[in-house]
């Protein structure tokens, strides 16, 4: 019985998201005739790629029972690194490697503080959110670097020739497929779930909890840096304030995707679905010129109800079954 209910609950979250996605498409189409056009989809996914990339690693981290609030600041830092290395005349490919290295290092620092010193990741990444963003501002100040070569900016804003598929979206799809395989089909993924479910039990089972968490932190930094490289290409501008405030959005996408905030449960497919639900809603509302902050009312309410709804449903269910049980036992008396 319990197994069935557990299966049902996993089934129902993704089902809910698919329903939401369909509703979003219907809503979008009714709000604006431009919604269901390939051109719109192309621009929409292009604008989502940075958040999408960061949510891949954030998913793994939250499943493992931690959180990383510094992702947007690492993005900014990476963007700034692209800017100053380019300004210094360093060739583009090396700039990218440097930016990725800096991001990984930032993630490593997060991971070391959490695993070696046992500090709570919420607070550590709150601190590094400020520290890394601050460093970005110290390094680049308030200027912007924009004279990147067209090959780079074309990657950011261009499409695969002959189609409307943005290059950056292709990058995301490849990463997503990789992550789905790793999380859901490999032993690393199983370890991550085990750690999130019960850290001590996992350790006793021989899983090197600290090493895995450290790896996930580095991965998070790496992917945030990648997102920074993408954003810098897309707006052709390296700025210290790039992606300011994005971290909460990434967490929202992951939570709406069904990942339990306490760890151990959820699937990447849900997160990807949630990404499109949120992206689609924002896009649809933007097409009728609703301001970004008002769009957030929908997002915020959706987030709350995504957890509230099933809780209420479960309450009703158990209340009903209790009544049934009581009626049944009364009959037996």
């Amino acid at each position: 019985m319990k197994l069935l209910r557990k299966q049902l609950s996993a089934w129902s979250w993704e089902a809910l998201l698919v329903v939401l996605l369909l509703l979003t498409i219907v809503l979008g189409n009714s709000l604006s005739p431009y919604f269901l056009t390939p051109f719109n989809f192309s621009l929409m996914v292009e604008g989502l790629v940075e958040i999408a990339i960061m949510s891949l690693s954030m998913t793994l981290i939250i499943i493992a029972g931690e959180i990383d609030l510094s992702v947007a600041s690492v993005l900014g830092l990476a963007s700034v690194m692209m800017g100053i290395t380019w300004n210094a005349g360093i060739p583009l490919w090396l700039d990218i490697i440097i930016a990725l290295a800096v991001g990984s290092l930032a993630g490593l620092v997060n991971g070391l503080l959490v695993t070696r010193l046992g500090l709570p990741s919420l607070v550590v990444t709150l601190g590094t959110l400020a520290l890394y963003r601050g460093l970005a501002f110290v390094i680049l100040g308030s200027q912007a670097v924009s004279d990147f070569p067209s090959a780079y900016t074309n990657f950011g804003i261009g499409d695969v020739p002959g189609t409307l598929i943005p290059w950056t979206f292709v990058l995301f799809v490849l990463l997503a497929l990789l992550f789905i395989v790793v999380l859901h089909r490999s032993w690393i993924g199983r370890q991550i779930y085990a750690i999130g479910n019960n850290k001590e039990a996992a350790r006793f089972a021989g899983i090197r909890v600290d090493q895995v968490k450290l790896l996930l932190s580095v991965l998070s930094g790496l992917l945030s840096a990648l997102a920074g490289i993408v954003l810098t290409a897309r707006i052709s501008s390296a700025r210290a304030d790039n992606a300011l405030g994005f971290e909460l959005f990434v967490v929202t996408v992951v939570l709406l995707g069904g990942i339990n905030i306490f760890g151990g449960r959820g699937s990447l497919v849900g997160v990807i679905l949630a990404l499109f639900v949120i992206g689609g809603l924002r896009n649809a509302l933007g097409l009728i010129n609703v301001s970004g902050d008002i769009q957030n009312i929908v997002i915020g309410t959706l987030l709350v109800f995504s957890v509230l709804g099933p809780n209420i449903a479960q309450r009703i269910q158990s209340a009903l079954s209790r009544r049934r049980l009581a009626a049944g036992s009364a009959k037996n008396v």
Partner: protein, 346 residues
Amino acid sequence: MTTTSEHVQEADTLSRRSGNRLVALVGRVRELGLLVVLLLIIVVVGVQVPEFLTLSNMVQILLSISILAIVAIGETLVILTRNVDLSVGSIVGFAAFVAANLFKQNPGTSLLLGILVGCALGLVLGVINGLIVTWGRVPAIVATLGTLYAYRGLEFLYAGGNQVSASDVPDSFLSLATAPFLGIPLLIWFAAVLALVFGYWLRASRTGRQLYAIGSNPDAARLAGIRSGLLVFGVFAISGLLSGFAGVLWGARFATVDATAASGLELQVIAAVVVGGVNIFGGSGEILGAMLGALVLGTIDNSLSFLRVSQFWLQAIDGAAILIAVTLDAFIKRWVQRLLITRRQR
């Protein structure tokens, strides 16, 4: 004649009592540590830039953190129960705009009414948070992340892109923040009184102790008969109420209010609380600590401008402060634990 087991029991109780005393002492040490840091900063900066040490600058520092401090009181209560309230920034902003707008549209409004409206709004929003977390059983971080967005969006809907400027509101409203009472601006008095009241209440009352219990061990607390649901609901409501009040004061201090007011405040508040030694997992920490945390961060910010350090270093230093505070806490905890173990072994 006392038996061996009684001896053991006595020794055990003694060690536990001294252990408790040790933990309490460490708490004091933490706050003392913050005071030391504060004094250090004041001395180091004051020696280099004497203007830093003037009374008017001290007043400026207190003014700059008063609103944050009021919100931090509520946030401390929430965090003590092993929850978090991320929506405080949105509540402050909403209340700020509603109050300022009230005075703009109806210039004759009494000051008291304006304050009440802001507080009522904050209370309502806090109650909603509390209901979602307790009755809805939604984890606090999820619930308040959602309401952070929802409340901010509602404020935008209400504000409609408008702005309230200093010239739109009566001077009496503005004076709420600046009017001096015994030489010190009212705003600072509000923060100080609230901190004292809540700090005392937390320490001295049974309800206060129950909050600590809930945060330390929620299951044990419930088994012991503590009405966790009601209390957690209560702290969210209080957090909302205090944020609402802080919002009215925001409107009075900054006077130009639009729908983006107080964006990002929540992270600053949590930073102050964490630096102040409140454990993010609940169960330990004091209001006094949170106030000192806010003071330390505010003093650092203020001193940077005197040292003519580029404003860009501000955020990096705040982040470093959080990391240092939390690391120190971890080391102190480990040291205490080791001490307790060796003491018990003896």
